[in-house]
């Protein structure tokens, strides 16, 4: 008996708690995952966030509406235009401004370019997460071209402060449309190349197919949005379902996960939806460029932003999902409260649900497929 007890105490196997992050190559920022592991198998994941908390919402209570825009840039730094746009839409709703046509078209072009740029980073870093390094540099190479366009547009390459409540800060530079179309022509074959290198690679499919399946109902219940939810086959895109701006004027599809390489809603589907979305974005940009009207982009910019007392919840389909700005105004030029519903925040909360039971390598892949940006989660 005693021997048995000793043997048990010696041979007992417990779970190991592994701290992944905040400094770790593939946590996409300063995310910390407390992982309980049994060998390679992960039994429990506790995401710990807040390492990048910069008091965005508190700042907003001290800044005027115009001044908040550069701060929204810094929330989702990979899709700054989307944040600007989302905030501007919310404020415009509060102010009840009618925008000139040209502004709306410019915004759509820019937002879709930004979506391509953001997805390129997402796909590239996802490749890095599963060990393929070359696709990352290819993706970054193409993203640089978009950033060049943005630099010509507003002088900045990452944090633009371009879309303002009521308009945009500058009109399009000369030849911008031509350069954009040139880029799209260049970009289409690059997607095929990317697919050949990564998406259809057998090892990649083995790593991602059937891994980390997110069932649609779980996704909705957790508030997962954007490509991560569409990967599960839920046809849910604000651009189609609740068209804001002028998205109802364009003809495009919402790519959904189909379970080509496994089950619907697996990591590969979440990844591939982004690839397909880049094509759809290109489609939208081509249409918008063709229809771009003339006009003054500064016409509707209010001299002073002083909304009436009230509140608004503005929604926007960003590269990561459903961004919401809940703004309470008390009639001053400074908002009483700004709450940002960040898509990556909700997307991350589902991680422990879908990644438990998989291996450490899979957790990395699943995390990569959710495409989080810590700046937005921690705000």
């Amino acid at each position: 008996m005693e021997e048995q007890a000793i043997a048990k105490s010696v041979l007992e196997t417990g779970e190991m708690v592994l701290n992944m992050g905040p400094q770790h190559p593939s946590t996409h920022g300063v995310l910390r995952l407390k992982i309980h592991t049994d060998g390679e198998i992960v039994s429990k994941i506790e995401p710990v966030i807040g390492y990048l908390h910069r008091c965005f919402e508190k700042h907003c209570e001290y800044l005027s509406y115009e001044q908040i825009v550069p701060f929204t840039d810094r929330c989702d730094y990979l899709a700054s235009m989307h944040m600007d746009h989302a905030f501007s839409i919310a404020v415009e709703k509060l102010l009840d401004v009618e925008l000139p046509e040209r502004v709306e078209y410019i915004r759509v072009i820019i937002a879709e370019l930004q979506r391509i740029a953001s997805h390129l980073v997402a796909l590239g870093t996802f490749g890095l997460d599963v060990g393929a390094i070359t696709p990352f540099t290819w993706a970054i190479r193409d993203r640089e071209r978009i950033l060049d366009l943005f630099e010509a547009l507003c002088g900045a390459r990452l944090l633009y402060n371009y879309i303002w409540p009521g308009g945009v800060s500058h009109d399009l530079p000369p030849k911008f449309v031509e350069r954009t179309l040139d880029f799209l022509d260049y970009f289409d074959p690059q997607i095929d190349e990317f697919n050949n290198l990564l998406s259809t690679n057998k090892i990649f499919i083995e790593r991602t197919g059937d891994v980390g399946v997110l069932p649609p109902d779980v996704g909705i219940n957790f508030g997962v949005t954007g490509p991560s939810l569409r990967g599960s086959g839920v046809n849910w895109d604000l651009r189609k379902n609740e068209p804001y701006s002028i998205y109802d004027k364009f003809d495009f599809d919402v790519p959904l996960g189909e379970g080509t390489m496994g089950t619907i809603g697996d990591t590969w589907d979440r990844y591939y939806v982004r690839v397909l979305e880049m094509r759809e974005s290109a489609k939208i940009i081509r249409q918008a460029c063709a229809q771009l009207p003339d006009g003054d982009v500064h016409e509707a910019i209010p001299k002073k932003i002083r909304p009436a007392v009230g509140e608004v919840y503005g929604r926007y389909e960003s590269a990561r999902g459903d961004v919401g700005f809940y703004i309470i105004s008390n009639g001053k030029n400074i908002p009483l409260r700004v709450k940002m519903r960040s898509p990556a925040f909700c997307n991350l909360s589902v991680l422990s649900e879908i990644a438990e039971g998989w291996m450490i390598s899979d957790v990395i892949a699943i995390l990569g497929s959710l495409d989080i940006v810590l700046g937005e989660i921690d705000r």
Binding site: L18, P25, G131, L198, R207, M359, S361
Partner: protein, 366 residues
């Protein structure tokens, strides 16, 4: 076949030196030669690895650092001094040992790994007669010595007192031990046909008959099993799960820095060279010229089979194999642990076993 040690002993014999003096001298010379080979190999291989990866990724790679002001090519192949500068940087870097690490083992581990690679070179022929010491069981010796490294890997992972290191070392142990089986089986097949463990004899057999890779469909398959398994054995992508940098930070090397880390690095690239040379000797005809395959040249051309030409052919074949390794690395994603094991136990080992059986049949029939 004579070895370098043999010829050294012969040349020193005229001095009538005592064996107690002669032995250290010869050992020192041999050791220095091996160390130089390893160091130069790492310097060159790292440079080309960086350049190849850069070009495959539409980058330029190192372009700035030169040697004595000479930077290399202006457009693409610049920065030839980069790896040398990196090596110097590594040597003068602060050596950090974590507080709670098992210091003795942690210091010991890199040397064990290095020793494993180092010892392998003793039995590795670079060409006819260019071998430090000519074993008649050469293939067995190389196979045995190259497995020593895994002890160091496990020690390094355990002594670092870091969970990532532990994961890395455990993965490495599982992987290296598993992949030794298909490697062994593929080599066994060659030994079976050639009837000798001596690498010189194996090459001689290929000279007499034909290269092993073309000997039969089964040896052809065996070459690929051998080659892919050796990639796994040297922990390179797509089998680099022990140091998977996106998962395990740097695996068992996480806590190492400076010179100790440089030793790991050196051994990694030395291992690449070793397996490529072994593959080229065992399957690709070693120092035999590829031109012989076609048998279209007059016999007088075969004079070109001297040691220098032999060295050229061995290195040529090895370099191609190394390039393919690098090519793999910058093309593929990484496998998962269980998939790696699946590949080994459910694909390679059955194929290798079947190969062994079928090649015996082949030998019986033909």
């Amino acid at each position: 076949m004579t070895s370098i040690v043999d010829s050294l002993v012969k040349s020193f014999s005229s001095f009538n030196l005592d064996i107690a003096v002669l032995l250290p001298v010869i050992t020192l010379i041999g050791g220095t030669v091996i160390f130089l080979i390893m160091a130069v190999n790492a310097l060159i291989a790292v440079y080309f690895e960086r350049k190849i990866s850069a070009f495959m990724q539409d980058r330029l790679g190192p372009m700035e650092v030169g040697i004595f002001g000479f930077k290399g090519g202006k457009k693409f192949w610049g920065g030839i001094g980069q790896t040398l500068a990196d090596a110097i940087k590594l040597l003068v870097k602060e050596d950090i040992l974590p507080n709670n690490a098992d210091k003795f083992l942690m210091i010991l581990a890199p040397f064990i790994i290095f020793t494993g690679a180092f010892l392998t070179f003793i039995g590795l022929p670079f060409a006819q007669n260019i071998v430090i010491s000519d074993f008649n069981i050469g293939i067995f010796y190389i196979f045995a010595m190259s497995s020593i490294g895994v002890i160091g890997v496990i020690l390094a992972g355990w002594s670092s007192n870091n969970k990532w290191s532990l994961y890395g070392s455990m993965r490495a142990a599982a992987q290296i031990i598993s992949y030794e089986i298909p490697i062994g089986l593929s080599l066994l097949l060659v030994v079976l046909v050639a009837g000798s463990l001596h690498l010189g004899d194996i090459v001689q057999w290929q000279a007499d008959h034909r290269w092993f890779i073309f000997h039969s469909p089964f040896t052809f398959l065996a070459f690929f099993i051998f080659y892919i398994s050796t990639i796994a054995e040297t922990n390179r992508t797509p089998f680099d799960i022990p140091e998977a940098e996106s998962e395990l930070v740097a695996g068992w090397m996480t806590e190492y820095s400076g010179f100790r880390w440089a030793l790991f690095f050196l051994s990694e690239y030395a291992n690449m060279l070793i397996v490529s040379i072994v593959a080229s000797i065992v399957f690709l005809g070693g120092w035999l010229s590829p031109l012989q395959i076609f048998n279209i040249f007059p016999d007088s051309w075969l004079i070109l089979d001297g040691p220098a030409i032999g060295l050229f052919w061995v290195l040529f074949k090895a370099v191609i194999l190394i390039f393919i390794m690098m090519w793999f690395r910058w093309t593929f994603p990484r496998l998962r642990v269980d998939q790696l094991m699946y590949l080994c136990w459910k694909v390679f080992i059955p194929f290798a076993l079947a190969n062994l059986f079928l090649v015996s049949l082949w030998e019986l029939i033909f």
